[in-house]
Amino acid sequence: MKLSQLSLFIQNQPGAIAEPCRILAENNINIYTMTLAETNDYGVLRLIVKEWQKARDVLAKAGFTANLTDVVAVKVPNQPGGLAEVLEKMGKIGINVVYMYAFVSNLQDAAVIIFRFDKTEEVIKQLTEASISIVNAETLFS
C-alpha cells in the first residue's frame, strides 16, 4: 500500500537540482511528481518515480545522498472540501502529517495527494479503518 519516495540532499547552488534530474533522464526514468523543501544552505528534493530502486542506485553511484522514504498516496475527491474532509478525518484519529504534496492524477474525479507520516504501517491501518482510500503503485503508475 505504501510507496517509496526518493529523497535527495541538494546543496543550495545554481544547477544543483538539474544534475540529478539529468541523471534520471539518461537512465530513462520518468519523474511523476516532486517537491522541494528548502533552507538557507540546502534543500531536500523528494521525487516520485516508478523505478525507485534503480533511480536510487544510479544516483547513489553518481555520488548523491539518496534515501528511499515510505510515503502513502491518498485518493481525495476532486471537489471543494475534498481535501479538507480527508485531513479532518486524519486529525480526529490523531494522525500527524509530516509533509504532503500533490500527485498528477489520471483518475476520474479524484486527486491524489502524497503523504509522509511517521509510523507509516500503523497509519495505513488507521486510514483503511477510517475508509480513506489509498492508491497503490500499480494504479498510480498505470
Partner: protein
Amino acid sequence: MNNHSTAFNPASAMDFLPREQLEKVQLERLQAIVKRAYDNVALFRKRMEERNLSPSDIKSLKDISKLPFSVKADLRDTYPYGLFASPLKDIVRLHASSGTTGKPIVVAYTKEDMQVWTSVMVRTFAAAGLSNSDIVQNAFGYGLFTGGLGAHGGLEALGAAVIPISGGNTERQIMVLKDFGVTGICCTPSYFIHLLDKAEEAGISMKELPLKVGVFGAEPWTDAMRKRIELDAGIKAFDIYGLSEIIGPGVATECHAHSGLHVFEDHFYPEIINPETCEVLPDGEEGELVLSTLSKQAMPMLRYRTRDITVIEKGECPCGRTIRRIRRISRRSDDMIIIRGVNVFPSQIETALLAVEGTLPHYNIILTREQGLDNIEVDVEVTEELFSDKISGLEELRKKLSSAIEHIIGIRVKVKLVAPRTIPRSEGKAKRVIDKRNME
C-alpha cells in the same frame, strides 16, 4: 600623550638592566626553578632522570639546552593538577584554557606568581605609555581566560582607573568609551575594529574622543590592521603576547618603537628552535619560540614549546630596553587556530563530529572575519546514514553537531550541511582549515 610615554614607571627598571646583570638574574632564577621543578613535579624529574640530568648540571644559561622540552599535551596528560610544584594551600588562583581534546588545561598561581604577573602587566602598560592618570576600559573577557583578569591586575597596580567591562555588548562598550572619558582600551584587535565600525555607524568619531592608547592581543594581527586602527581611531596601538601555560598576557609587549615585542626575560627565558630538529637557533633566525618560566612557583614550565613561529631580533631597540624582542607572531608550527582569543584545534572538532555521527565525516573548518569579529563555520558532508528526508531531521542533526562542537571548544560555531563530494579530498594530510580572515 608625550608626557605619558616618557614618564618612567619604576616597575619597568628591569626592562633596562644591563645585559650582564640581567643574565646573572636569569641564571640564578633558572637554577632555582629547575631545582624546584625537579624536586616537586614528577614529570620533570622523570624526564631529567632519563637524561641523567640533575639540577646541578645547570651551570650556565646555555645549559638550558640540556633540559627536555615540554608541550601542551603534558598539561593534558597531567590534568588537572599534575604539574603543580606548590601544595594547593599555596595556590591562590586557577585559570583554564582549551586543550587539544575535550578537557581544558589548568594553570595555577601562588601569591608570589600573582605578584609577578601583576608586575609584568604593569610593565606592559607602562611600555604603552599608560599611567595612573589613565582611565582604561578592559574589554578582554573576564573568567577562566587569563586575558581579562591578567590585564585587570596590572591596570589596578599601575593605578589606572580600570573599567572591568569584559567582552561583548558593543553598544555599551561604545557608550562607556564615550561617556567615561576613557583614555586606554584593551581587547582583541579585531574587536576594536568592530567597535570602530559601530561607533562610526552611531555617528561617533573615535578620533574626537580622549582615547589615545590601545593594548591589543590574544589573536594574530598585522601591521596593516595597526595602521588602520591608528589612523581611524587616532590612537597608538600596541601588540602584546602571552599564553596561559606560561602566565597569561604579560610574556612580551611592544614599546613605542613598534619593532618587535620585548620579552620580560627576567621571568620568561626565550629560545628559538628549529621545530623539526629541535636544534637551538641563534638570534636573528626564524623558528619556534620556546619559553621557560624563571620565577613561576605554582607551575614552572621548562622549555615549553609554544608552536608560535618568530625570530628573536638582533641588536638593540631604540627605546633602550635591554630585554630582547621577538618579532610579531605570524604563524604557528601546528594546526591550532586562534579565534577570539580561544585556542581551537581541528582535532577537537573531529572529536565532536565523531561523538555525534559515530564515524568521521568529511569536513572543513572555514574562518571568516565579519565586522571585525572572527567567525568559525564547520562544513560537514551529509552521509546516507544521517540523511533525512525531513528538514526537521536535518536541522536537528545540524544543531546536535553545532552544540557538540560548542561544548568542546567553548565558542559558538555555525555548522553547514553540504552535499557529499563537495569538500575537496587531498592526498596525504587533509587541509581541514580554510582561513578566509582578511587581516587588512
